[in-house]
């Protein structure tokens, strides 16, 4: 793309400055550039595993979001006479011990698990990127203070933190999102900060400073877009981590409360009767594991696509 020879584009040096009074350029004449994002996307498209993971992940999302509308059962409708039955034509995934349809429960549990994963990741992303970029850019004492605060939060045991929050504000699903987001942003902040520290020495940041841009503009326009690559990768890998955390919290009874379900809750219920009703564990666990696999493969693919230098060829 760069092999346009210099002379083709350049004017004759000896000639005086061209005096173009009217310099309107028709939109169609412009050569459209290819951004680094576009390049990364085309590299990602070549990675079959990553694309397959993306497709499967999207299918799982559709399955969980649209699915419940298509199934003639309600996730909380009990049929105690039926009890736990294996997969059948009426109940594809079988029913649980209270006679609830497992298919619809898996779908709705997936909704909650995915939502926790996404919302908490977005929360951690917003806080972590802005906090880390500010600390890294300002440097010096501000940086030291801000990062010591992060260390402090790191030292706080996560479960105690969540229990404290639950005691203070009562149990709610949204509070859990906040709690997980509050913990996950710490590593995000560290990654962004180290990225910014490296970028800060680059000449284009010096150029931005010497043009007199405000701190805010330099951080938002010049630094953050350039650390977004690793951030996206970490975010993709944070989603499954958060979903695991949610499952862990639900297991402790601090997360999603019955009769609502998440994959974590369903797996917990399933493992209690694993030997008698194995399908109760199998179906939610299958979807949970599949989602985690997809996101991890997608994260790997994104890392290779966004940073081709690190990719093995």
């Amino acid at each position: 793309m760069t092999d346009h020879s210099e002379t083709a584009v350049l004017g004759n040096e000896a000639a005086p400055l061209p005096k173009h009074s009217a310099s309107e350029i028709a939109e169609e004449e412009l050569v459209e550039g290819s951004s680094l994002w576009k390049d990364a996307w085309s590299r990602l498209k070549k990675n079959k595993l990553a694309v397959a993971s993306l497709v499967i992940f999207l299918l799982i999302c559709v399955f969980c979001v649209v699915g419940p509308f298509l199934v003639p059962y309600n996730s909380q409708e009990q049929d105690l006479f039926l009890g736990a039955t294996g997969p059948s034509a009426e109940h594809w995934f079988g029913t649980d011990t209270l006679g609830r349809d497992l298919l619809v429960r898996t779908m709705e549990g997936g909704r909650i698990s995915l939502m926790v994963g996404l919302v908490a990741t977005v929360v951690s992303l917003l806080i972590g990127v802005i906090y880390g970029a500010t600390a890294g850019y300002l440097g010096g004492k501000v940086d030291a203070t801000m990062m010591r605060f992060v260390d402090l939060l790191y030292a706080l045991p996560f479960t105690i933190f969540v229990i404290l929050l639950m005691v203070a504000f009562g149990r709610s699903m949204w509070l859990m999102f906040v709690a997980i987001g509050c913990v996950e942003w710490l590593s995000m902040a560290r990654i962004v900060r180290s990225g910014v520290l490296g970028l800060k020495k680059q000449e284009f940041v010096e150029a931005a400073v010497s043009l007199g841009y405000s701190h805010k503009r330099i951080i938002l326009r010049h630094l953050i877009p350039n650390v977004l690559g690793p951030v996206i990768v970490i975010a993709t890998l944070t989603v499954p981590a958060v979903m695991l955390l949610e499952a862990f919290l639900s297991f402790l009874g601090l997360g999603v409360q019955p009769p609502n379900a998440s994959w974590g809750v369903l797996i917990n219920e399933g493992q209690q009767n694993m030997e008698i009703f194995p399908w109760l564990l199998m179906f939610p666990a299958f979807f949970f594991a599949l989602t985690l696999f997809c996101l991890n493969f997608l994260g790997d693919g994104l890392r290779d696509a966004l940073d081709p230098k690190s990719a093995k060829d």
Binding site: V9, L17, I25, V31
Partner: protein
Amino acid sequence: MSEHVEPAVPVDPKNDFLVLDDVHTHFDMGKTLLTRESKGVVKAVDGVTLTVKEGEILGLVGESGCGKSTLSRTVMQLIRPTSGRIFLEGKELSALSDTEIRKERINFQMIFQDPYASLNPRMTVLDTLSEAIRTRHPNVKGDALRSRVAELLRTVGLNPNQMKRYPHEFSGGQRQRVAIARALAPEPKLIIADEPVSALDVSIQSQILNLLKRLTREMGLTMIFISHDLSVVRYIADRIAVMYLGRILELGEASDVVDHPLHIYTRALMSAIPRPDPTSEKTRSRIVLQGDPPSPMNPPEGCNFWPRSPIEHDERMKHEEPVLTEIRPNHFATNCPFCVQAAAETVPA
């Protein structure tokens, strides 16, 4: 810090375009962990006094590590000087607060060494230049802004229909042109070019040099052109300053410095330039300096050139602090008797 010596270069902050008055930029290396002893101070710029006239190109040469880049960043106020004053058009830049300096920055811009690092890889040329233009003209938008960008691109010899491209789609020379356009966008009066061609192919170097020379003349700019390559500086500069270990050793009209160098160091630099003519190249006599430049953390006393001097000298050279003095009309050199006398004795190259 060494004892303050009254500079012999006359400075007039009120009337001169750019004035550096005894500028020092030192970096404190901090203290050791346990004993809290100072790890020392790097004297990157150690008492530079200079004036730059409006409309001229001042070439600043020196080997790597001599403080050229630190000096350029100090003038740019990217690094604040430890002591000394810097005036641009009578306004003391070194006295302004960080907020005040931000508003002044449109008047002095910098062209960086590495065109691969000096452009934001996530922004198109259009975005980069628009942003820079709006530092001086915040209200220009839409088509007017775009036609200004097109104008700038033509000025630096790029085709405006490339404006929606990203830096990685250009060659090194083209990127350096974009970087030049960005430096011109705020309509500055002073441009500091920090080794703008040393990262480029030799064939592209001359194109960029010609472009810079032409732009300076036609737009009435003033430029400080920094390079380690005397042959490049000789081509572009009106006056040349030779820097060594954070100080100026010689300063004068380009033709004087090149053809009748006063200081032995300048002569050594001159004799290191290969000549394109093979017969003359064979007879080229070289002045070979001894050793490496000393550490700027612990610069030698006296004439700081003595540890490398290829000429006979006695103890005086190690103790007497030389001063930049006008030895010939408008031609300054440090008044170290050994360095300058030796130069006068040998026939100029």
